[in-house]
């Protein structure tokens, strides 16, 4: 569990969608699991604001990049599971490529003498 004092870093605009889509490539997940996954992999640096997670998911549904259905969790509770669609994967590839380009550019600027 990361320290509660850890500073939460604001996500650059647009990256949240990419992170969610990337997470969904692991399989169907509910919202809490998505948030947990992102937090764990980023060692608690990237904490998804729950208040922006659900609007973001709604947005993905609207764009047709993900679908959702109600299903039972292993603990016999009802939760809404999100699945990435084929066009969602395509979108993810594009976003990832774009991100790589920008990240590399930033890195070059930052490491320059």
């Amino acid at each position: 569990m990361p320290p509660s004092t850890a500073s939460r870093s604001d996500l650059p605009l647009g990256t949240l969608d990419m992170l969610i889509l990337r997470t969904l490539t692991l399989g169907a997940l509910h919202g809490y699991a998505i948030a947990q996954h992102i937090a764990r992999l980023s060692d608690g640096v990237l904490r998804v604001e729950q208040g922006s997670l659900y609007p973001a998911l709604e947005r993905l549904l609207n764009k047709g990049w993900a679908t959702a259905r109600w299903a039972e969790t292993p603990t016999k509770r009802q939760a809404r599971y999100y699945t990435i669609t084929r066009s969602g994967r395509k979108q993810l590839e594009q976003r990832a490529a774009e991100y790589d380009r920008v990240a590399a550019a930033i890195a070059r600027v930052m490491t320059s003498e």
Binding site: G31, Y32, G51, Y54, P55, A79, S87
Partner: protein, 893 residues
């Protein structure tokens, strides 16, 4: 792919509605619970921690909702709900707007549906109606406007020749639709009957709903088959849609017919008048031809021809062959212009080459005035919306100050006007139904229309119109409402101290007033035409004279010997009925037919003609006929009992005939030879005033009278001169007398002459009624408009008025101030309206009678009417302003 998912999701959200919102809430709860479980043991209040992490739940929900794909729809729903709420708060405004617009819509839809039925609608239930053509004869007649006269009927011999000349062509014939009584068991039901050729249905491509249609041999004219096909309406109304109707027997004109089939529900014939019953041509033998030849060899020109031509060249070939055949046929007693040619025409009769009836022309022209009513209504509604927007200026300013975007406010105003307009459209459909019924009754009262009053066409028309009107009328107030600067609006409070009248509002009032003037001028012109036509003297005393004739079921008229015996006896009997002054009889009733024989003048090769009149018509009359029917004897004497069969032949001519035959001399004592050149003279013993032969409006015509006793003519009509209110008694007495003395007559046709000629007044009556109805509507609407604008102005200036009165302004000063503004606007409107009326008058001038479209009396009356309306509408608010209590006015706010 993503599109499919996206659409599916949006649809789901739309379908689930509130449930989707609950699901979202459930999802958040689940998240909160998991969060709380994760934090368990580290704080006393896990819910609180979760909430802290999660943030403002309500905010998130709103956010998610705003994300919703159909948010704009949601917004419109909110706007509509808001609109309905505010409209409920101002019921006077709402009702005024809805009624005004609904009237405009209803009137227009009724006119639209009328024109649709007349000019646009192909007959239902027919295969490829555009290929169906009607066949017309065009004769050259120099005296007709355009030099030609076009009609649709052919004598059977010509029809037969046209069919024979076009072997293999799809060509069918029908007769005019008439009304008959069908007897089924003991009841008689009315039905409209069409007589058709056996191939009628197959030419139209109609298939029986039940049973079969006519077989070829059932169409043989020499050997009638008594079989009938009934329409869907009759089948449902009379036979309860019983399939066993096929084979059933019914009686038409006392003759048994076998029903062989039922037409499909959507087929009601090819005319405006719906048909209930089809029978073969020959089954109705009552076509009195006046000769001994069977009807199918005579000149009765009553067969309308329909043919199918898939392309123009086929049509030309058909017409060419038909024309040759048509010209080659000789029919006894039938003379037609050898230069006549045949013309094809649309299956929609009103689009054909025949002259439109005056009623239809009036309907067509007057339909433009329905648009004027709508324009007035729209102008009024825009005005009311503008006023409403002004009253809400402050509310709008506050909302904008609180952060509502301009777009949102415009949206809301437009949603409001569209809601109002659509609501009015719904009420308008109702009005359209009533107006449509009234219009049809007015236009063609006896017609059983083949199209419904309001159908999908006209309902769609109304809704489309109301949407457009709603959008347009919302724009002006929306834009105007946004104009004032926020600060001014907020500071000024609910009323402007410096009141400035709005130009737009004034312009709208001017337009309303002008259109109103135009409608009132139209009403005046048609009313005066109607009056002029009504006061034409037709030569008969139409308000004092009734015509009575027996009606026969079918077949040739009654036996001449019977009529010669019975008619004088019944006339004598009727003369004794209280209220009857005199009764007489004649071979034809006044303006109800005529007889012809050849006429010769001694010593001359030919007789003079008068206009297109070559042989003058005659009426064989009893001695009392002139006195009974009110014809004035100008010279000489009337017939007397002494002018019997053995006495020397005598005649009486009318003024025109006397002038044409013996110009410059007295006709009395002159000789006219009748029928055969070798006959002895008939001496003119009197000259009577001209009487109209057929119509109320006709050029003077030659006519002469012969004593009944000196002709072989059969008395067919009784003429009775009676006092007011005696018609009922006369009708009863006549019915009783005919039943007793002529039992095979079907009944009696007894009517005042004024009632008999009334249908001829219909075009003017129609124009006058429509214009008056529309004019009054427009006047009321315009009055509301003027009143509301002036009243609003006064309410805005309450404090100004208070100050003026406090400073010593008198009642008449204030009245003048308020009235002046309204009267100026109305005055401009009147001047403009008179100008438009003069211009528009040209379109209807051919429909007027005895009056020009620029009639000064009508123009002045319309202007005065409008001015009065304007004054009255301004007076109420003006008085309110004048009676303002300065103390109260200044204290307010």
């Amino acid at each position: 792919m993503s599109l499919l998912h996206a659409i599916a999701h949006r649809l789901r959200v739309l379908a689930l509605g509130e449930r989707y919102a609950r699901d979202q809430a459930r999802e958040i709860r689940f998240h909160l619970e998991l969060d709380a479980m994760a934090a368990d043991g580290r704080t006393a209040d896990p819910e609180l921690i979760a909430l802290q992490r999660f943030g403002n739940v309500t905010y998130y929900r709103e956010e998610a909702r705003a994300m919703s794909p159909l948010h704009w729809l949601d917004r419109i729903r909110h706007d509509a709900a808001y609109t309905l709420r505010t409209l409920r708060l101002t019921p006077g405004f709402t009702v005024t707007v809805v009624l005004t617009l609904a009237l405009g819509f209803g009137v227009n839809a009724a006119m639209f549906s009328m024109l649709d039925a007349l000019f646009l609608r192909m007959p239902d239930g027919v295969v490829a109606p555009r290929d169906l053509r009607r066949l017309y004869v065009q004769e050259h007649r120099p005296d007709e406007p355009g030099g030609t006269y076009t009609f649709e009927g052919f004598p059977y011999p010509q029809f037969r020749a046209i069919v024979a000349a076009n072997p293999g062509a799809a060509i069918a014939g029908t007769r005019n639709i008439d009304s008959v009584g069908i007897r089924i068991g003991n009841t008689t039901v009315p039905a409209s009957r069409s007589e058709v050729t056996a191939n009628y249905f197959s030419v139209l491509g109609v298939h029986p709903h039940l049973g079969r249609f006519f077989a070829a041999d059932e169409g043989r004219v020499e050997d009638p088959s008594y079989v009938a096909v009934i329409g869907d309406r009759l089948w449902h109304a009379v036979f309860n849609a019983n399939p066993a109707v096929v084979g059933q027997r019914i009686f038409i004109d006392r003759r048994p017919f076998t029903i062989i089939g039922v037409a499909p529900p959507d087929f009601r014939g090819i005319d405006l008048q719906a048909v209930d019953l089809w029978v073969p041509f020959a089954s109705h033998v009552g076509h009195f031809s006046g000769s001994n030849a069977p009807w199918y060899e005579t000149f009765n020109s009553d067969i309308r021809t329909v043919f199918r031509a898939s392309d123009p060249s086929a049509e030309r070939a058909f017409i060419g062959r038909a024309e040759n055949a048509f010209r080659s046929v000789q029919i006894p007693y039938y003379s037609y212009d050898p230069k006549s040619n045949l013309l094809p025409g649309s299956i929609i009769a009103a689009l054909g080459p025949t002259k439109l009836s005056n009623e239809i022309i009036v309907a067509q022209r007057v339909s433009a005035t329905a648009l004027a009513v709508l324009l007035i209504a729209c102008a009024n509604v825009v005005n009311l919306l503008l006023l409403r927007a002004s009253k809400r200026k402050r509310e709008i300013a506050v909302r904008r100050a609180l952060g509502s975007s301009q777009q949102r406010l415009i949206e809301q105003v437009v949603v409001e006007s569209v809601t109002l307009s659509l609501g009015s459209g719904l009420v308008g459909v109702l009005f359209a139904y009533w107006a449509g019924i009234a219009l049809r009754r007015l236009l063609m009262p006896r017609m059983h229309w083949s199209t419904p009053v309001v159908d999908a066409h006209s309902a769609g028309f109304i809704l489309g119109l109301s949407l457009v009107v709603g959008l347009l009328s919302g724009l002006a107030p929306a834009l105007q409402g946004l104009r004032p600067s926020l600060i001014d609006a907020l500071r000024a409070g609910s009323r402007d101290v410096a009141y400035r009248p709005s130009r737009l509002r004034a312009a709208l009032l001017v337009v309303q007033t002008a259109l109103c003037v135009v409608l009132l001028v139209g009403a005046g012109l048609f009313l005066r035409s109607l009056h002029n036509v009504q006061s034409i003297g037709v030569g008969y005393d139409v308000d004092r004279v009734a015509m009575i004739e027996p009606v026969f079921p079918d077949g040739p008229f009654a036996h001449p010997a019977d009529m010669q015996r019975v008619m004088p006896a019944i006339a004598a009997q009727l003369a004794r009925v209280p209220g009857v002054e005199l009764a007489s009889f004649a071979s034809s009733g006044p303006m109800w037919g005529e007889g012809f024989v050849s006429v010769f003048l001694p010593g001359r090769d030919s007789v003079p003609s008068f206009g297109d009149q070559h042989t003058p018509p005659f009426n064989a009359v009893d001695t009392a006929f002139f006195r009974a029917s009110g014809i004035r004897v100008l010279q000489g004497r009337s017939f007397a009992a002494s002018d019997g069969p053995k006495a020397p032949g005598v005649i009486i001519v009318n003024e025109t005939m006397a002038r044409v035959y013996w110009p410059g001399e007295s006709a009395i004592g002159k000789c006219l030879i009748l029928d055969e050149r070798s006959n002895p003279c008939a001496t003119v013993i009197g000259v009577v005033a001209d009487v109209h032969v057929h119509d109320i409006i006709e050029k003077p015509m030659m006519m002469y009278f012969r004593p009944m006793a000196q002709t072989k003519a059969v008395p067919l009509a009784i003429v009775v001169r009676l006092q007011e209110n005696a018609m009922g008694a006369v009708r009863l007495a006549a019915e009783r007398a005919f039943r007793a003395q002529l039992p095979y007559a079907d009944g009696v046709h007894a009517e005042m002459l004024s009632a008999l000629i009334a249908p001829q007044l219909r075009p003017w009556r129609l124009g006058a009624s429509l214009f008056i109805a529309f004019g009054v509507l427009a006047l009321v609407v315009a009055a509301i408009g003027v009143y509301s604008v002036v009243a609003y102005g006064v309410s805005q200036r309450t404090s100004e008025m208070g100050i003026r009165i406090a400073l010593g302004a008198q009642t008449h000063d204030i009245l003048g101030l308020v009235l002046g503004e309204g009267v100026r606007v109305v005055g401009i409107g009147i001047v403009l309206g008179v100008g438009v009326a003069l211009e528009a008058g040209k379109v209807v001038s051919s429909l007027l009678y005895g009056i020009g479209a620029d009639d000064p009396v009508v123009l002045v009356l319309a202007a005065v009417g409008l001015a009065t309306m304007g004054l009255l509408a301004c007076l109420v608010p003006a008085l309110r302003a004048a009676w303002t209590d300065p103390a109260t006015a200044l204290r307010a706010e």
